[in-house]
Symmetry: C2
Subunit: 249 residues, 2 copies
């Protein structure tokens, strides 16, 4: 059977997952594209349902999840891509209470661009930062745009959400290193064994509360004609520099 109506309750519910309200209500988010779906299957994430377009002719995903065929028109309605590949799935949002980190971790302090949040999650997974704490002022990492930018990094990191105070409590005993233009040169800075690297908002930087709580501040040195870097770029440079003893081996 092929679902052809946008008014079908399952289709309406699935389309609602493109918005934060719908994701919160159903505890699900969307993962789109054959490759992302395959990466998701390798992870601990639970795929709840798979949608394939009528004209999808790629390999069929091996999964216990129910697979639903929909018309190309309905697929476009569910998709967030300009040129949909014809495969997407609904995935459960993990629920976990705030916990202390196991190793080097990241604190996103109001990073508001969904593309930046996704790119940071992608780099965090690559650079060995497995826990990411996000303040409530961050863009939602489960939005279609963030998920796409995270390129499967989302499936292999642990995200924690909370107010700044809740996050500070979970990080009790873990030094915070704030990325700030007034900080120490990151190239000469000697990182402690474990820490939380804090990345601030694109326009306003680190919040006053996080700045107050931070034990260290580090900067990326720059030519004087450039004031700042893109948030995802500076997060990437700092994650690698502060973990360099791991990579120089």
């Amino acid at each position: 059977m092929i679902l052809t109506s946008k008014n079908n309750p399952l289709i309406k519910e699935t389309a609602a997952l493109k918005d934060k309200k719908g994701r919160k209500e159903h505890g699900l988010f969307l993962v789109e594209g054959r490759k992302m779906l395959a990466e998701c299957q390798k992870s601990d994430f639970v795929i709840e349902r798979i949608f394939l377009s009528e004209s999808y002719s790629g390999e069929l995903p091996q999964s216990n999840a129910e697979t639903v065929r929909v018309s190309d028109d309905v697929f476009r309605f569910l998709s967030d891509e300009k040129t949909p590949q014809g495969a997407l799935c609904r995935v459960r949002i993990p629920t976990r209470g705030l916990q202390a980190p196991q190793g080097k971790c990241l604190l996103l302090d109001g990073v508001s661009d969904p593309g930046n949040v996704g790119a940071i999650v992608r780099t965090a997974n690559a650079a060995g930062y497995r826990e990411i704490y996000l303040t409530e002022t961050c863009a939602d990492p489960y939005s279609p745009k963030s998920v796409r930018a995270s390129m499967s990094g989302l499936f292999f990191t642990k995200l924690y959400f909370g107010t700044r105070q809740d996050i500070f409590s979970a990080l009790d005993g873990t030094p915070i290193i704030a990325a700030d233009m007034g900080g120490e040169n990151a190239f000469s800075f000697q990182s402690p064994e474990t820490f939380a690297l804090a990345i601030g908002n694109e326009a306003n930087g680190i919040s006053a509360e996080t700045f107050e709580r931070a034990q260290y501040t580090v900067k990326i040195p720059m030519r004087e004609t450039q004031e700042s870097l893109n948030a995802a770029v500076s997060a990437g440079i700092l994650m690698y520099l502060l973990n360099r003893t791991e990579f120089e081996k």
Copy 2:
């Protein structure tokens, strides 16, 4: 006098600069926002004309360029921003023939996302890569989206355009270091004094021609669950790592 018609020839010509065709025809591009305009004024770039919206109430730019007031409606027509600030200008695109680099430089080999091109230009200026060579397959760095993402880095770097072969000729004698997942660990790689760091296309990486021509390849080491990084993020990490002797001082 306040221009209120979108059919005014000056307004039509200016709006056409949002597209590559219009920029090529007139040799001009658009710079938007008070801060970007101020940065542009500090550089060698020539501001040809300034446009302020009727309701613009910020500081008036000090400039010899003619200033034109336009209705808010016409300003929105010229603007590429969701919430226009009311100030933009037309700037001359520098014309320069391909030349050899003076120091460490960048080769963008088919970077196709305008946001990535802009963010890379921004980081290049910060990290001391003053010359950027772009193949014809790259996104146009003078598009409104790229200019915005470059955050004034565009005004303090030199951009060169050409076919790969023309660029290779200009780089004759300069070793090319290609960013590639099969390369040497960038953390242990010893860079030559001068070089061109090549960054490939988001989906396909370095082209066969550039790969063939490159003397070295370097990679950013990654956890095995992550295959790749965002192009602007990896360019940023590599630019800083390969120039680290400069920053460790």
